[in-house]
Symmetry: C2
Subunit: 137 residues, 2 copies
């Protein structure tokens, strides 16, 4: 067979611990993995990609439950045939943008306090600019 990985190898390649991979299968985030005669899990390259996608989405703060619809689409599926997913991803894209804005504001804030060069930052809070005095240098 082409490229088969044990769970250990899958863990090494994806950085996701074995236990966690099994957990993901248990909660139905990942599909039930193929098994060998001895019931051991076998993973294919596309499975590793799916796992990497999980890692990827997790970085953006997406909860595991929300990932399920995306992961159910098999590799190669055309998203345009799934308008509801298209909407979901557009929605998630907006969240990521917001997150980045927050982070940028905080960076600006830190820099303005620590180096005194960045523009005014208010930590993304509405209302009059507030500075957290303890950071003054």
């Amino acid at each position: 067979m082409t490229d088969a990985y044990t769970i250990k190898e899958a863990a090494e390649h994806t950085g996701i611990p074995e236990e966690t991979i099994r957990y993901y299968e248990r909660i139905g985030l990942l599909p039930r993995a193929e098994r060998k005669q001895n019931r051991h899990r076998v993973y294919r390259p596309k499975d590793l990609e799916t796992m990497r996608l999980v890692t990827c989405l997790k970085k953006t703060g997406m909860p595991l439950e929300e990932m399920k619809p995306f992961l159910k689409l098999s590799v190669g599926d055309d998203i345009s045939e799934h308008p509801e997913l298209h909407d979901l991803i557009v929605e998630h894209r907006a969240k990521i943008r917001e997150q980045m804005d927050s982070l940028q504001q905080i960076l600006d804030f830190i820099d303005s306090q620590m180096i005194g060069t960045a523009p005014e930052a208010e930590c993304g809070l509405a209302g009059q600019p507030k500075r957290f005095g303890f950071l003054n240098l």
Copy 2:
């Protein structure tokens, strides 16, 4: 007294629910609040700022425990007198930069799949570029 807020008002101004404010006090994230004769909590503007700082740091993914050293410094303290905190914040700044990079890569990836204009993205994973086919448009 100048500007005193009830817990309810504090909650309204900061967006943090009352229960959560009490919880933060319980776990020692926020200092024990001033009380009135009737034991009700009283909050001052500086307390609201501290709460806003919590919200702010939370947005960057900092766990509550890690915030404590920062919050213990009272408003107006000079961070240069606390080199260990300076280091912590520089460290956290680096984490935020990483987070932003991850998010940017994912945005690029989404956009490249959904609009077909953005540069190549690999979801920040080492190794050979992989694309998650289901997003093809």
